[in-house]
């Protein structure tokens, strides 16, 4: 089977149009980033506390907002996380001023105050841990195993762990009757848990806190990693090919990274560590495509000495076109599955790759080679000029 047969498209003849188009997109993107709403930097870089909780019922965002108002003067950002029917909420608070500090506890305390007063001191199946449950069971010893407190704790540990295992699989206990679904509980223990425990309105899914020190640190590191990987690519291609090709490849990379960043800004995607990781991966991937084309150009130069470089490049792009499309296609397929099925945590990561691969494929054809050609021509012209003198 064949998707793309023999093609003889003179890609390079469209170079002015393509480069012009890219320039317009990039300029618009950069303008949007700088003068528009800008990049949505996440807590990894600006610092702050971010807590994800899962509620029993569809949560009322206003009620949560009200509960949060007691914590900090900064307005918290409250938004839905993942699919609506999962009742998951993300709460984000910036650290006031340059203070270090973890707001997880105050946030959770405020939520408890607002939602879990009904528990009135009972053990909360949705937020407390196995150790505490084992201790409580050991204190009242529903099975009457006797022995000293330590051996009783040891004894009840396994059953307490089973309760927590259930929460791990289900996300949370809908009510205290969920205890009946837990496997490996003795009837006495199950009955006792029902008397001492309750199911709170929410469970903690995850929490992140990054202080300003670490935030600044990470920002710095991310910029350096970006810069050095671009330099690394330039160096490698310069070494393996020639300087004009290196410049062409790096121009394509700038193109890809800038457009992907613009897309992140446009769709108001949050930029965190995994996003930067995805951008770096994109850098590696996008060069990959370019290298394949350049590799063919190098081979053709050897075979067909003296021929016009523009024609050689066009032929090389055409010869590798079906590979470029197929590989981009398979990678796109898997990134799409990641985007669709990978969950909210990894979604922005997949988004970057999705945009990046499409842009990267375009740029390895329409940006890298034209720039390399222009650089090469400029270099040749300069050499001639020198010789004439």
């Amino acid at each position: 089977m064949r998707i793309i047969g023999d093609t003889h498209i003179s890609f390079l003849s469209y170079r002015k149009m393509a480069l012009g188009f890219s320039m317009v997109v990039i300029l618009a993107g950069v303008a949007y980033m700088f003068f528009g709403p800008g990049l949505n930097l996440g807590i990894d870089f600006i610092g702050g506390t971010q807590v994800t909780v899962k509620f029993q019922d569809e949560p009322d965002l206003d009620r949560i907002r009200k509960a949060m108002s007691t914590i900090s003067s900064a307005t918290p950002e409250i938004q839905r996380f993942d699919e609506v029917e999962k009742h998951e909420i993300l709460i984000r608070i910036e650290n006031p001023g340059d203070a270090e500090g973890d707001f997880t506890k105050p946030i959770l305390d405020a939520l408890h105050q607002e939602y879990d007063l009904g528990l009135s001191g009972r053990f909360d199946l949705n937020t407390q841990g196995a150790k505490e449950l084992a201790n409580l069971l050991a204190d009242s010893d529903p099975e009457g195993v006797l022995g000293d407190i330590e051996s009783r704790r040891e004894y009840y540990r396994a059953q307490a762990q089973a309760v927590l295992e259930y929460r791990k699989l289900q996300g949370l206990f809908a009510s205290v009757d969920g205890i009946d679904q837990v496997e490996n509980l003795s009837p006495e223990v199950a009955a006792h848990i029902k008397t001492i425990a309750g199911a709170g309105e929410f469970a903690l899914l995850g929490a992140e806190n990054v202080g300003p020190t670490v935030g600044a640190d990470l920002k710095n590191k991310a910029q350096l990693a970006m810069l050095f990987s671009l330099l690394g690519m330039l160096g490698y291609i310069w070494l393996r090919f020639q300087l004009p090709y290196g410049i062409g490849a790096v121009a394509a990379l700038f193109h890809d990274v800038l457009i992907t960043l613009s897309a992140l800004a446009l769709f108001h995607r949050e930029i965190n560590l995994p996003t930067i990781a995805a951008l770096l991966t994109l850098v590696g991937y996008s060069v990959n495509d370019t290298v394949v084309v350049f590799d063919r150009v190098r081979e053709n130069i050897k075979l067909r000495r003296g021929e016009d470089l523009e024609k050689l490049m066009d032929d090389s792009i055409n010869q590798t076109l079906s590979r470029t499309i197929i590989t981009s296609g398979t990678t796109l397929m898997v990134v799409l599955t990641l985007y669709l099925f990978g969950g909210d945590v990894i979604n922005t990561f997949a988004f970057v790759l999705l945009v990046g691969i499409i842009v990267g494929t375009y740029s390895s054809i329409f940006v890298a080679s034209p720039v390399a050609l222009a650089m090469n021509n400029a270099l040749v012209a300069r050499r001639r000029k020198k010789r004439r003198r």
């Binding site: 992140e208 990987s229 490698y236 990781a277 990678t331 397929m333 599955t337 990978g342 969950g343 790759l353």
Partner: protein
């Protein structure tokens, strides 16, 4: 069969065997990162300034008491943490030679500047560094003890940071993260102090009672005002002596207990040496209140009713859990300095579990899509590529298990990406073979040239991704590092499977047939 083919097959079997062996039993040999197993990742900074201040304060007290033994009565020594020094007035009639001797004998870590009527003790060059270093080490040890007592499996606690004042704590599989964080960061510095005044509703009224000024020997500490059933109903202030009668360092053990109303409290036992001091003090102060101070907060100020020697109770309207934790941290020892959280990442167990399930779904869906595509597009050669892809995943898992690499959520994304990119090598080869066939080469020659020519390209193309992965590894924190590792191993494995294994498969296919007319590609 051709010897060359046999060697190749043996090598493949050995490599695959090793991978399978190191990954077996599946699911148990791969380390899950915190983001998949659920757990807590903390970066704490030790406030080593606290330790400096404590050392100076302590040196001041030591100095006064040592001088007292030599019949020299000094006033209070004033510590100045910013200049790392301690200044005290030398009384007119004091024997300066004796004082010099004391300083020489007991304060070897200090330089002394002798003024006309006041002397200053200043840290020697190395003292500051040493004290800060000790504070971090003690902090590390204390955190270790506390986590040990709490019981977390496979904790990782390391020192890090340029100044070495940061502590990284990683605790996998914690189901009650807030509680563990609380236990780690509680300073838990317990002191028993003599109460001179209070309780009073505010600082000012206490100050007025002492004549408007506060002697440097005393301090005012806040505390809780308790209701009849031990509940907190407000705030009170106490005037107490700065010097503690006994501190938490002299504790033998502590445990949760309860009072006659069922209210949880913490019962403690003192070491014999402290019991003597405590006994003597309580005997001579019957009828006066004594403050139980935890982290500069008066927990309670009971009136001494009788001589107490080696045990006592801390009451503070605790829940069972709080009392349990306080007993734990008292047992494990106080922190030498406050800790602040610089970074904290918690992944609840259910979120981690959810990520694994979804990640696997994405991997399987991606794998099926790519495999289907390859078989449809390249027919029999596609089957060859699919085999190479499966081996690639096996090698990836095997290498991760063997090197003890950690699989993280971005790492799963790395696996998915590897699936898409690993077939790239096969695509490059197959496309090349197709080209060679088209210009009229025989099947055998086309395969030879296809593999030969494509190899250089594959090498160059993969190197760039490896370079990017290297920078990722340098820059990344845990999960990102996991991604970089997965991606790198995946790419390296794909060079072996797509080039070496696929080639061997072709060789086996061509074996014994002199003239192969067609190739399913």
């Amino acid at each position: 069969m051709d010897k060359k083919i046999i060697y190749r097959i043996v090598l493949i079997v050995v490599v695959v065997g090793l991978a399978a062996w190191s990954v077996y039993p599946p699911g148990e040999r791969i380390n899950y990162g915190l983001d998949l197993s659920g757990g807590v990742h903390l970066v704490l900074q030790v406030q080593t300034d606290d330790a400096i201040k404590a050392e100076l304060d302590d040196a001041g007290l030591r100095l006064v008491s040592v001088a007292e033994e030599q019949d020299i009565t000094l006033g209070t020594a004033i510590s100045d943490p910013e200049n790392l020094s301690l200044t005290f007035d030398v009384p007119a009639g004091a024997d300066r030679a004796v004082l010099s001797e004391i300083v020489l004998d007991y304060f070897g870590d200090y330089d002394v500047q002798r003024g006309a009527d006041s002397w200053t003790l200043k840290f020697k060059a190395n003292t500051e560094k040493m004290i800060r270093d000790q504070a971090v080490r003690k902090g590390l040890e204390t955190i270790n003890n506390r986590i040990d007592e709490f019981g977390v499996a496979e904790p990782r606690i390391n020192r890090q940071g340029i100044d070495g004042d940061r502590i990284l704590v990683q605790l996998p599989g914690v189901d009650d993260p807030e509680r563990v964080k609380d236990i780690i960061s509680k300073t838990a510095f317990l002191q028993f102090k003599e109460v001179l005044g209070g309780p009073a509703p505010d600082r000012e009224s206490l100050m007025q009672a002492t004549g408007g000024s506060l002697s440097p020997e005393n301090e005012i500490l806040p505390g809780n005002r308790m209701g009849f059933e031990g509940e907190v109903i407000g705030r009170d202030f106490y005037l107490v002596k700065k010097v503690a009668i006994v501190t938490g360092r002299e504790l033998r053990t502590a445990r949760r207990s309860q009072d006659e109303y069922g209210q949880a409290n913490v019962r403690f036992d003192l070491q014999p040496s402290a019991a003597d001091k405590f006994g003597a003090f309580t005997e001579s102060h019957i009828g006066t209140p004594m403050a139980i101070v935890l982290d500069d907060r008066v927990m309670s100020a009971p009136t001494i009713r009788a001589r107490i020697t080696d045990s006592g109770v801390i009451e503070g309207n605790y829940s069972i859990e709080e009392a349990e934790d306080l007993a734990l941290v008292l047992r494990a020892g106080a922190l030498p300095a406050r800790l602040i959280y610089l970074e904290e990442r918690t992944v609840g167990p259910s979120l981690g579990h959810d990520s694994v399930v979804r990640g696997l779904r994405a991997i399987v869906a991606g794998l099926i899509l790519v495999m289907l595509f390859m078989v449809i597009y390249y027919k029999l050669s596609g089957v060859n590529a699919v085999l190479a892809l499966i081996l690639n995943l096996l090698l990836l898992m095997g290498a991760m298990a063997y090197f003890g690499a950690t699989l993280t959520l971005p790492g799963i994304a790395g696996v998915v990406l590897t699936i898409g990119m690993a077939v790239d090598a096969n695509v490059l080869i197959f496309e090349r073979i197709r080209e060679e066939l088209k210009v009229g080469k025989t099947v055998r020659a086309a395969i030879d040239t296809g593999f030969g020519r494509a190899f250089g390209t594959i090498l160059d193309a993969n190197m760039t991704t490896l370079i990017a992965a290297l920078f990722l590894f340098q820059f990344g924190t845990g999960p990102i590092k996991g991604f970089a590792v997965t991606l790198s191993i995946g790419i390296l494995a794909s060079m072996f499977t797509a080039v070496f294994v696929s080639r061997t498969l072709y060789m086996v296919l061509m074996r014994g047939r002199d003239r192969v007319q067609t190739l399913s590609v």
